[in-house]
Symmetry: C2
Subunit: 253 residues, 2 copies
């Protein structure tokens, strides 16, 4: 029995998120099916970031255990022959049998893309959230910096039965905004942290957008964090603007 | 009767090109339908660039004549309420009654995007052509420069019954390649000219890609142009990597 780790990129538009749900197309479901087609095994895929419906990824992590004789490194090419075109495995390797991608210390990087223009641009709209009114970018940048540090992010989290009793303290190493060099109406909010709560980046992004529209000030962000109450923060920005960029493990895999 | 000019951006993935074809989804067909829903008129839409199936645009030009009382400038907002989300009208205005977007002197800018990486990246694959083998970018840049100037582009044109007897001399003001600032595996070929023949940018792009793969040299491009024979040039690169960026009219509209 070997544990294989894969790095998988996908366009989340057509999927009901990472996690398998009966009767719905999901990333985990497609990966499970592809492994079955290759090896005949019904494996349990453990995902690194359980991205929501419509959220994209440039390299999510997943592991599964297999008895197959396929060389671990060959799983990327092999799985790609069985996966739909909007899910691509970038690399595969063997990891320790107890390696669990969500329990290992890691840094995750997410980006949220906003298209700030009078009209939507169809070639961007699949991967960005369109905001018509002119955003105050410097207010957004200043507000984003308030997320940095070690905080209880209860105000930036949708509580579910699974997460109600969870520790909600996370460290944000970096949070900032950047305009695209080529297309000035594309604004990206990039955030790097040791973990993210349910909907956390989308609530951060929605709150920053409302800051850019003048509804909140950077100081409000600090008050929201201190208040530990979801009702203090802004709306949850739409899934399609969110992309998981990278997961970096701090110890060797 | 007024002639209204609109600037329209679209994701061409789901369309059989700009030009109306019976029973098939086209940009012209959707625009005609939207004008009919607004005004009750069955107008003839004249397109500026008759982009192929799968080709995108950031701002194609179209004109139509209308007796409606809608203010010309209001057609953008009004049409957007009737169009599918992957077609967006950016602006509208009245132009002279004899204004014809393909007969007026103009400069057109196209971009062809190549994703040069071992595996495809799903969030880019809708708008780029994936090339796995490492491309020699400096050879491509040097080759692109050979397109500049006033030449007979017979070698870079698919001949059809409509275009067989057409003059095939065009002026290319600028042709060059650029890497994306953010995503180094995205390479863009940008070309600006006074007009383009059928499939011309896609054949240029395909030939440049083959140059990047070492099959052609920059000098071969010059020989291809001089030879005036389609069989001398490279393959026609896939439609999805091509985007019409802009049309600039040289006299006032």
């Amino acid at each position: 029995m070997k544990r294989v780790m894969i790095k998988v990129a996908y366009d989340g538009t057509g999927y009901h998120g990472f996690q398998a749900q009966r009767g719905l197309a999901t990333i985990q479901g497609e990966l499970t099916r592809a492994v079955f087609l290759l090896t005949g095994e019904e494996v349990d895929i453990i995902g690194g970031s359980r991205t929501d419906a419509g959220v994209h990824s440039m390299g999510n992590i997943a592991v599964f255990d297999t008895d197959s004789r396929i060389e671990p490194a060959n799983f990327s090419k092999a799985l790609n022959t069985k996966l739909p075109g909007d899910i691509v495995v970038w690399c595969a390797k063997e990891v320790a049998g107890d390696f669990h991608p969500r329990r290992r210390a890691s840094r995750k990087i997410y980006e949220y893309t906003v298209l700030n223009s009078e009209y939507d641009i169809p070639v961007y709209s699949r991967y960005s959230h369109h905001v018509r009114r002119k955003l105050d970018i410097s207010a957004m940048e200043e507000a984003a910096k308030r997320f940095e540090g070690r905080h209880d992010f209860t105000s930036f989290c949708t509580l579910t039965n699974d997460t109600r009793d969870m520790d909600r303290v996370r460290t944000i190493f970096h949070a900032g905004t950047a305009m695209d060099e080529r297309e000035e109406s594309l604004l990206r909010f990039r955030v790097e942290g040791d973990g993210f709560l349910y909907n956390m980046v989308r609530i951060m992004a929605g709150t920053l957008i409302e800051t850019g529209l003048g509804r909140f000030t950077p100081d409000d962000i600090t008050r929201m964090i201190e208040g530990k109450d979801r009702r203090l923060a802004g709306h949850t920005a739409p899934a399609k603007g969110l992309c998981h960029m990278e997961t970096i493990f701090l110890e060797s895999e």
